[in-house]
Amino acid sequence: MKLEGKALCLGADIDTDVIIAGRYLRTKDRQVWVEHVFEDLDPSLGSRLRGSVIVAGRNFGCGSSREQAAVALKEAGLVAVVAPSFSRIFFRNAINVGLPVIEGECDCSSGDHVVIDLDEGVVSCGGVVTPVRPLSPRMKEILHEGGLVRHWRSKKQ
């Protein structure tokens, strides 16, 4: 599985409250989350997610278990998140909704071309290739099928 996009650089400890604020959670309308994603961090970020790879600092997705955070990023067209570490609930949520999350490090310059090769276990940022932590076979399978719901449906058939 190969993924690529433009780098969008963010800092460490990006919490799920700033990804999608608590005031927008009471709905099933995914478009609401897309409209307000990152609103409290930088309102211009939301429109730049499509086709991008977020390259963040440590502990991405910390805080609340709200799955709407991972859904909002996925629905906004984000390709993947690369960070040295993730908050564990966000990490599981992302895999479960089909958003690739990669534990690795990149020297991030905004707009750099980022290529992630999940099978080789490497990420290339602006041409510099570094190894990343491999995903477990089960996680790769879930991602490959587009999330845990589809993975379940396919298992049942």
Binding site: D13, D15, D17, V18, A21, G22, R23, L25, R26, T27, K28, D40, L41, R58, N59, C62, G63, S64, S65, R66, E67, Q68, A70, V71, S85, F86, S87, R88, I89, R92, N93, N96, V97, S136, R138, G147, L148, V149, W152, R153, K156
Partner: protein
């Protein structure tokens, strides 16, 4: 020789295990997405509804018709499928699970990050997202990577107005917001004997703020006595020699009242260093500090005095509210000029009554102080109940124990 997490999960640190879930719970917030995912998965069941709980706490009572309609669907689902159900006003999910539901040695998942609270009973309890929870509804199973464990070795006992919350915030600051990522915390040592069950629940509640998968206490005499109130006879858990990835030693007698400065939970500073900070609101409650002992302590400090800043007190469950009413704690709090909210999460996550305005400062006994969390442009300082009570009386951040 195993850590408590290894013992409960049946594997060594680093192993991936598939385990059967003993109890699984969602609230009105995460339950909506869980139900959606579960329907999409097309499962029969759910498997083992007697192990599943839907507990309303996030927006209670409903604030508008959208919320009310979402809650209606969950309520009907719980009733038709035979899940345990607690309606508006019953209390915060973690508190309700701690009122005689969760037992030592169990595997517990909650669709909320603070589900690690229940580790205080010697259970392996952790938070998951909605889709993971839907899979638990469907199969009764979940996978985990067995975590490495950090030992928090406690000795001594608290001095003066120091309480469990000060310990919890101090531990988080020592570890950092991701200092325990993917790992578990075990609180061990002689110091734990002096900690009440309610205090332990406050401590494990904050484990996730250091990124930990869970925080655990071994079930001891304190645990057994607490669970006996609910008719449970359980056995103690005896620690074995085992390998910890890190040791953090804390003498409870060295601790001082602290406050976590926004927007980070790992920023504990002595209350003394920020004394006099102007407050616009004090909030006492939540899954961290809304228990009966908390309300009792708050009442003992505000008794016969009037608060100088608007103060919201929210019991963490209907049972806590009932006890507070029966013992006169509630009337003491009301007489001091505080307002009382429906048992639940209150304004903690910024979605319901008690949110703060732009530029306002709230001193809160909750567990998160992230940017805009309790209202756009507001700031949240986290502290203990004693600090909150002392500060409510003066209207500014105040070291507890110094109120005349």
């Amino acid at each position: 020789m195993s850590t408590l997490s290894e013992r409960i999960l049946g594997g060594k640190a680093g192993d991936y295990v598939d385990v059967e879930v003993d109890r699984a719970y969602v609230h009105d917030g995460t339950g909506v997405l869980t139900l959606e995912a579960w329907k999409e998965m097309g499962c029969p069941g759910p498997a083992n509804p007697e192990r599943l709980y839907i507990l309303f706490d996030h927006i209670v009572p409903a604030n508008n018709s959208t919320t009310a309609t979402l809650q209606k669907e969950l309520r009907e689902f719980a009733r038709s499928k035979g899940l345990h159900f607690s309606d508006i006003g019953g209390g915060v999910c973690h508190q309700l699970m701690g009122e005689g539901e969760v037992l030592p040695g169990e595997i517990v998942v909650g669709a909320d990050s603070h589900s690690c609270t229940l580790g205080a009973f010697g259970a392996f309890a952790t938070g998951v997202g909605a889709t993971d929870m839907a899979a638990v509804w469907g199969s009764g199973l979940i996978w985990f990577r067995v975590p490495e464990t950090i030992a928090i070795r406690l000795s001594g006992s608290f001095n003066g107005a120091v309480e469990a919350k000060d310990l919890a915030l101090t531990v988080i600051s020592k570890l950092g917001m991701d200092g325990a990522s993917y790992q578990a915390l075990e609180y061990i040592g002689d110091g734990m004997k002096s900690l009440s069950m309610e205090g332990r629940l406050t401590i494990t509640n904050l484990a996730t703020e250091a990124g930990a998968k869970t925080g655990l206490f071994y079930a001891d005499d304190v645990t057994l006595a607490y669970l006996r109130q609910f008719g449970h006879q359980v056995e103690k858990q005896v620690p074995e020699p085992c390998t910890y990835v890190r040791d953090v030693n804390i003498d409870l007698g060295d601790l001082v009242p602290v406050v976590a400065v926004p927007p980070r939970v790992d920023s504990a500073k002595p209350v003394e260093s920020l004394e006099g900070l102007q407050l616009d609101q004090v909030f006492v409650g939540t899954c961290t500090n809304g228990r009966f002992e908390d309300l009792q302590r708050f009442a003992s400090i505000v008794r016969g005095k009037k608060v100088k800043v608007r103060t919201i007190v929210i019991p963490s469950s209907a049972e806590v509210l009932r006890k507070a009413a029966d013992t006169g704690v509630l009337s003491t709090i009301v007489a001091s000029g505080c307002t009382i909210g429906t048992p639940g999460c209150g304004p903690c996550l910024g979605a319901h009554m008690g949110v703060i305005g732009e530029g306002e400062v709230c001193l809160s006994t909750a567990n998160r102080n992230f940017t805009n969390r309790m209202g756009i442009g507001g700031s949240i300082y986290l502290a203990s109940v004693s600090t909150a009570a002392a500060s409510a009386i003066t209207g500014v951040l105040t070291v507890p124990g110094r109120v005349p």
